[in-house]
Amino acid sequence: MTQASPDTTMNGVPAAGNEFLTFTLGREEYGIDILKVQEIRGYDAVTGIANAPPFIKGVINLRGIIVPIVDMRIKFNLGKAEYDPFTVVIILNIAERVVGMVVDGVSDVITLSPEQVRAAPEFGAALDTRYILGLGTVDRRMIILVDIERLMTSRDMELVDAGPE
């Protein structure tokens, strides 16, 4: 969060030297700031939460802390939401919270220079452009750079209390 902000240029496009963890959802490739990632683990022992939206799979015990798990595939309707020993959960550390995110697969960690990042045009993506920092290009791959903190704390994700009751 704060570590990344000084490196961010005026238009919100991350400056050179920023490293991104890339993951896939269906056939799309996404990138998130590596500094927000706490760890990557398998999917197991999730306790369901009643009346939660379908993409909130429940909570897990991560070494004594209760961490909610969000399935991005369900949320954005990308890929098949199947759970097997290879299902990957990215544990994020954002806004002083710990949140797990189920994705199809984690690809690699890449470094993008500003020239490789283009502003995102308005388009009908599953993801609101508000949460997109830009589009990164590596070889022929297009990586959608997501402002994961903003996305996860947004009202859409229903992860945080909307306000006082």
């Binding site: 306790t47 009643a50 939660a52």
Partner: protein, 708 residues
Amino acid sequence: MTIDMSQFYQVFFEETAEHLAAMENLLLNLDPESPDADDLNAIFRAAHSIKGGSGTFGFTDMTEVTHVLETLLDRLRKGELQLREEMVDTFLQAGDVLKTQLDGHQHGSEVDERAVAEVCARLKHLASDLPGAGTAAAPAAPAGPRTYQIRFRADPTVFRDPAVLDTLLRNLAALGTLEVIAGGEEGQGVALKLASAAEEADILDILAFFLQPEQIAIEQATEAAPAGKTEEDPGYGLFTDGDEPPNPPEEDPGYGFFTDPEKVKAEAEQQQGYGFFQDVAPPVAQGGQTHPAAPAAAKPGGEGRRATDKAGATQSDTTSIRVSVEKVDQLINLVGELVITQAMLAQTASEVDPVIYERLHNGMAQLERNTRDLQDSVMSIRMMPISFVFSRFPRVVRDVAGKFGKQVELKTVGEGTELDRGLIEKISDPLTHLVRNSLDHGIETPEKRRAAGKDAKGILTLRASQQGGNIVIEVADDGAGLNRARILGKAMEKGLPVNDGMSDQEVWQLIFAPGFSTAEVVTDVSGRGVGMDVVKKNIEGMGGRVEIESEQGFGTKITIRLPLTLAILDGMSVSVGQEIFILPLSFIVESLQPPQEDVKSVAGQGRVVHVRGEYLPLIALHRIFNIQPRAAEPHQGILVIIDAEGSKTALFVDELVGQHQVVIKSLESNYRKVAGVSGATIMGNGKVALILDPAALVRIGQSRQPAP
């Protein structure tokens, strides 16, 4: 009701010492040119807390000092006065004075009443906003030595004992070089010549101790003092302490009483005599006089006395240690982990042949016992009954009610409710504010009450209970209630975004705005508008909530809900479908498997169960949580009768799994509040189980009853 308040003194001492340290720290970092508003507020709050606490315990001397301190701070933070360097100095001095007062109460060390009075006077001067008033009151830097001609008539009633005059002379000699020109005989006038760097006011101070101002005549001679005399000033400096306001004359009268009369002559003429005097054995016996402020164990000189003060201040209490709440939290978390690990090991160990691995089994049994004991001990560090806080209040109520001429009866309910020590410490300040507010603004005077057709005696109720995952503390009075129109008016005046269409709840929340007070008179108790925003801030800091219910003419009830973040819970685990839930044991009345014919439906939808002549509403947990149950009908599963929200309800679950002690973990720290769930815990298998909130379930059940 008699309560030994002394058991809480230690808490007050510790808290106040903390507040003072925080205040000093903030003051030292304060930039007089552009003071940070938050810092000023924080200093103000610290002072306010000390005032509140000292008021509660009846340490009125500290209340007085903090009250004047607060008045000035209040004007500063409202921007009515501009902060000046000298104010910061005075604040620091006030802090020192409070420290000595605190020491006085704690260790029985001596308090310099004159310093107290002076700091108060200075604060009042500063607060009164007279230009230069502060400067005049503040000790001026010693100017060059001046010569004063002092004349007074030695009043025979005062100077019956020659020692008194000697003392006076000695005190004057302490200021500089004294020459006795005439007098000293009984009933005659005295003329003195004093060469000193001191202000005229200082001399008057000393004389005023014995004489009426009109009896004294002081003239300042313009000629410069002989150079040789100034050299003696260092002797005078010996008695000033860099840490304290440079007002040695203030202390000297008391000091002077211990003068050996035999030595006076010599000393009056020679500054060195002062140094000599310090070597004299405690002269109390010789002086043959007692001074009201004289300490029982008087030390021969000012230096000695300060040394005692310092020794008192650093004297540490070895019977208890103060550990940060975080450290205890960490300990509790670790023990929680240990319990889980132990449970996992036990599960694995149970799978091996007990005949072959007998020693392993024995070891496991012992490990389990030890872990439980450890957990109990660690938990007990934190848990305390709320009576620790409540029992402070009879005194507060008595004092405050007396002050306002109100008749108030205090009722406390649920003193045995245990809560976390950390919460106990933090809740006492906000509760004190709320109680004082209720007494001041809530409960009316007996006349008004009678006029309103109420009993002249108001009732203030403090109630504590555990409701699900919350500790609920209520402060309720049967007073006038909140005045909606006045709050709205005041809010508009303050420029807060309000409109007449706001709900009562929203209007009541306005009183939590910083600086909000509808009280017309700022009193020692409330009306500065500091209480409520601090109350809210503190409670939210604990992860709690404050709710207000008020009915004009009937009273106000303020409810504080605190989460049970660290409390351990005795729970019954129940299963529904594939899920395991924890039901707090304290809510469970009984469990039963009803015969099919005892479950009836009402109006085709709502179901009730007939239990020994009572019809209890039936709530199916699987319906509330949308889970596919294994037992579709109550007679196939289990009904757990819970007592929540004031009535009994039957909760339908698949089966009972077992009874556990669980460590409550917050769901909200990483997720959000879930309806019907108060928290989560980690089971022996490492899985998360949700802890049910029976009261919420009952409410959900009631609202859902008509739905399928």
